[in-house]
Symmetry: C2
Subunit: 215 residues, 2 copies
DNA sequence: ATCGAACTGTACCGAGAGTCCACTTGACCG
DNA sequence: CGGTCAAGTGGACTCTCGGTACAGTTCGAT
């Protein structure tokens, strides 16, 4: 999200501008620490202009989270789609996908930018039922998505330990969210990708036939 | 932390009372969403009384995080100490420890209460360098602690995949932090323990000799 | 020309953080 | 018994921030 407007159209699209500025600030400092005044100044608009686009801060948060979820889903579609094209075997596709994900994060100059859902999770005053329900559905969506992928793998490979498919499905989002927290605190750029690679090793060991396994 | 005062001594210890009330609120709603007025009312003291004990909100946050880190370290000491008593083998001790941790969390009526470090990680306005440095040292401490345990395991068992010991050491805190985020969003009580059990399976597969392995 | 979407600017409100300070209360101490 | 000090009370005030209200402006499309 994303150019409805081509790079040609120089239309600033104030709403998007506000969201871009707000997202950056929110990921840096959190929702509550990000003041409307600060956004307004950075966007070179008036307070009235802000409230023209968003009825309150909650509406902004809602829009940010919605956009974030869409972007994340598009990213997963892209990465695991490409992985599947590279190797039709579901296990190998998963392993390739996780590696692609880790590599993509390593290429970002400052590591993973952070997750607005997690930012919201620890700051409840601001958020109404609607926002919380959106977050819930996003996390459940990722659980279902990865669960389905693991189910496919389990059709082909016998797992070496009993599977808890929901927990396994949650593990991708969980490991990423956790690693983001560590990264924020430690200030180390590669924390998230390193944790994803650990998860990859787990998946590999969980399904790979006991002895050999190349990729 | 903890009864410096025995259960007999009915001394209210206002400072501790404030911290207990604040911690509960912070874990529910976040630091910024927790107002001093609200704490003051719940503690039946005056605003002046609050500022007598903490020069500002930052000082309160600092005290909460400090106490949290100490408690968490004490918990790890206890759990992995007991695990080591039950089985002297470092791998088995680790597996038992992780299971004890998961079981302990399952016994809590509302799951893991949340982590004030993560709560701070996404709300930066409030915190000075001192708080951030404290958090950093805590996370690095846990990395070192678990890293050392994995190193001990690796002396006895040949890992089935190359080890990234720092990433492995971070994995315990990472998985827990991530699972807490999921738990907060989903409202499911067992998310954290389920994720810890996944981590346990990973450790088991990573070090266990290829074929047999009971526990 | 004119209409409406996208603003600007100002004035105002209430909540919450934080400061200052003068005053009280109760325990212990000599 | 009087003094002292930690642990408060309570009120007045300042500033920032979210949010409301609303009157007026700018500008592109029809």
């Amino acid at each position: 999200m994303d150019s409805r407007y081509s790079s040609m159209t120089v239309k600033p699209d104030t709403r998007t501008l506000i969201m871009d500025i707000a997202e950056k600030a929110v990921l840096e400092k959190g929702f509550e620490a990000t003041s409307i005044d600060e956004i307004v100044v950075a966007a070179h608009i008036s307070r009235g202009g802000f409230f023209y686009h968003f009825k309150d801060k909650n509406a902004l948060a809602r829009a940010l989270i919605e956009r974030y979820i869409d972007a994340e889903n598009a990213l997963f579609d892209d990465i695991f789609g490409r992985a599947r094209e590279l190797n039709d075997d579901p296990l190998h596709a998963m392993l390739i996908g996780l590696k692609l994900l880790a590599e993509m994060l390593d290429d970002l100059p400052n590591g993973h930018p952070g997750c607005v859902i997690a930012a919201a999770a620890y700051q409840d005053r601001l958020f109404d039922r609607g926002v919380r329900e959106m977050n819930r559905r996003a996390i459940l969506g990722w659980r279902a998505r990865f669960r389905a992928m693991f189910e496919e793998i389990a059709k082909v490979y016998t797992p070496r330990e009993p599977l808890d498919l929901n927990a396994l499905g949650d593990m991708v989002s969980g490991v990423v969210e956790g690693a983001i927290v560590l990264q924020r605190v430690l200030g180390e750029r590669q924390t998230v990708s390193a944790q994803i690679m650990q998860l990859r090793t787990y998946v590999k060991l969980l399904f790979a036939p006991p002895m050999q396994m190349d990729h």
